[in-house]
């Protein structure tokens, strides 16, 4: 069993309630941080921990915190990004649903470190019942003196508010989120200015993912240096992975980042292997935006080394032969599942979610969806594959926010690694419609542990 820092208590009966959570040692980090550490000391611990943002980009959290501007007399804000909309990702939901107080605890410590007296949780609108869970937990925390005025007699005031979004993936992007929190359309802002200088209501703002902020609790409790000893290299601590697709045991797992991809997929402690006696074909290891990898490049790097479930190893080989940790949305395809169709659903997703501000993204996502639809439904030409390649290249890097890249990468990787599956669809239009799955032969070369 690997180390558990976040989900350790998830199975304790009644852990969602304040009394049980507190009895199990909850809110200790608030006592320690507010009474014995100043804001700077907390930021230092988070820096030492090596914690990287868990929302997708993996930016060092402590460094981000140290960028926050502190102009005289201007309030600052912490915003928790609970928009979780990247296909394949459902870990923040799990954390908020079962351990709401862990997030609240992390938010209080983080708000103190950043000087935020009004902290907002921006949660995707569809998680409506979780809003109630969070508001109940906030109410309990307040009733017990962890929120409100003069917390623990330290003079620090803090309130946490839960704001519901209304269905827009783009509002997970931090500047779009801020726009949405101001009651506007979720159009990303041009940076700079960065939120750390001018964010919510043009005040200095830090936006962090749910899991990042929850991880502050064990970091304060155990100390940054101890936290940094877990994991490997720049992948410190534990990471939540939401596993889905055709595996025996889909769900949310906390891993320490030293396990191999093979162990994660095939061991009974985690995914339990591929369901229905099928073989592994491919995997998108970090949410829909990251490159898909065929099984051989997934389990081993191009150099033939074991691939591990951490930031460095998953990206080993760059986009040519590697992928990314991303948000930890781990999507597994079996030998019969169709890469073209899967890519089509992602292209449709990004077309639907493009905010429409930049023409390469607005138009390009629509074209990619149309072309993929033609190929999938037997109306494609070989030249369409090259056209797709060309379009994705013209989106990448030419847009205001990274959604354009996020839309381009999955298409590029699917063509890069599964070009003959696209060609098979073009050459066998009727067959591809009837069977509606891709080529099985990718599974052939793959070692499947007994």
């Amino acid at each position: 069993m690997g180390v558990k820092l976040l989900l350790e208590k998830a199975q304790v009966a009644g852990i969602r309630s304040y009394d049980v959570y507190r009895r199990e040692g909850g809110y200790r980090s608030v006592e320690k941080a507010l009474k014995t550490m100043g804001p700077e000391a907390i930021v230092e611990e988070v820096k030492k921990s090596g914690l990287r943002g868990r929302g997708g980009a993996g930016f060092p959290a402590g460094m981000k915190w140290s960028f926050i501007a502190k102009p005289e007399g201007v309030p600052r804000h912490l915003v928790c990004n609970a928009d979780e909309s990247e296909p394949g990702t459902f870990k923040d939901r799990y954390l908020m649903e079962f351990l709401p107080h862990l997030l609240i605890e992390g938010l209080i410590v983080s708000s103190f470190a950043l000087g935020s007296n009004d902290t907002y949780i921006y949660i995707r609108g569809e998680y409506a019942w979780i809003v109630d869970i969070l508001e109940a937990a906030i109410g309990e925390a307040k009733a017990n003196g962890w929120l409100g005025k003069n917390i623990l007699g330290t003079g620090f005031d803090c309130n946490i508010h839960v704001q519901r979004g209304a269905g827009a993936y783009i509002c997970g992007e931090e500047t779009a989120l801020i726009e949405s929190l101001e009651g506007k359309r979720g159009n990303p802002r041009i940076k700079p200015p960065f939120p750390a200088v001018q964010g919510l209501w043009m005040r200095p703002t830090v936006v962090n993912n749910v899991e990042t902020l929850a991880a502050v609790v064990p970091i304060i409790n155990m100390g940054g240096e101890e936290y940094a000893k877990i994991g490997v290299g720049k992948s410190t601590g534990t990471k939540l992975i939401s596993a889905c697709g055709n595996i025996k045991k889909p769900g949310v797992y906390e891993i320490d980042m030293t396990i191999s991809v093979e162990e994660f997929i095939f061991s009974d402690e985690y995914c339990g292997g591929i369901a229905n006696g099928k073989r592994l074909k491919a995997c998108i290891p970090g949410g829909s935006s990251v490159p898909i990898l065929p099984a051989n490049l997934l389990l081993k790097t191009a150099k033939g080394e074991t691939r591990y479930m951490n930031y460095e190893s998953l990206s080993d080989g760059g986009f040519a032969t590697g992928s990314m940790m991303g948000s930890g949305g781990f999507i597994v395809l079996d030998e019969e599942q169709c890469v073209v169709k899967n890519t089509l659903t992602f292209a449709r997703f990004y077309r639907h979610e493009s905010c429409g501000q930049c023409s390469p993204c607005r138009e390009g996502t629509g074209w990619m969806e149309k072309i993929l639809k033609n190929i999938e439904y037997g109306k494609g030409k070989t030249s369409d594959i090259d056209l797709l390649w060309d379009i994705q290249r013209k989106i990448e890097g030419n847009t205001i926010c990274p959604l354009g890249d996020a839309a381009a990468w999955p298409v590029a990787a699917a063509i890069r690694h599964f070009r003959d599956e696209f060609e098979w669809h073009v050459k066998n239009p009727e067959e591809s419609q009837k069977r509606n799955y891709g080529l099985a032969h990718y599974a052939d070369a793959i070692h499947v542990p007994a």
């Binding site: 909309s85 394949g88 569809e126 019942w129 506007k184 359309r185 209501w201 697709g245 999507i331 997703f349």
Partner: protein, 166 residues
């Protein structure tokens, strides 16, 4: 007609109070949710104008937001809306079959409402339940690990709860 009652107004005031003085526009998304729930499950232009008036915004500021976000319905929907996820991870677990089956059972296509106004079928993109696929949202909650039998049971459950509320 389009006016919040006292309880709804109380909730409105609670929402607005979360933001600093003069930043009441920030309450727009939650207030639109409240309005949609309060006035028949969708946002008519009358409802949006009322929200604009309450928050002291220009009507266009409300329209541009209401049209941007997919959870706001700009035309009437059925009493029960089946929002079935169709994105990759759900597709890999058979969401196509579930969508087709619901359509067949209710005699409607995605985007349509049954003539009796009871059911709307809508396809949506990833709802954050990929590991529990196929799934749909029904009102405030998710229905997960869907099978044909489960769909039958959900439809029956809706029909009987509608009958009980009449």
């Amino acid at each position: 007609m389009t006016k919040f009652n006292d309880t709804q107004l109380q909730e409105f005031n609670r929402l607005v109070a979360r933001y600093p003085e003069g930043k009441q526009k920030s309450a727009l998304l939650p207030v639109l949710h409240l309005a949609q729930e309060s006035f028949g499950g969708w946002l008519s232009s009358e409802t949006m104008d009322y929200v604009a008036e309450l928050l002291q915004l220009n009507p266009i500021e409300v329209y541009e937001v209401a049209t941007f976000y997919s959870m706001y319905n700009l035309k009437p929907v059925g009493k029960y809306m089946f929002e079935v996820c169709q994105t990759g991870p759900c597709m890999l677990r058979g969401s196509d079959n579930i969508i087709a089956y619901i359509g067949e059972k209710l005699g409607i296509k995605p985007g349509e409402t049954t003539p009796d106004g009871m059911f709307t079928l809508k396809t949506v993109e990833c709802l954050g339940a990929c590991g529990y696929a196929p799934m749909m949202q029904l009102g405030k909650h998710f229905r997960e690990h869907l099978t044909k039998d489960k769909v039958d049971a959900i439809i029956a459950e809706c029909r009987s709860s509608a009958a009980a509320n009449n």
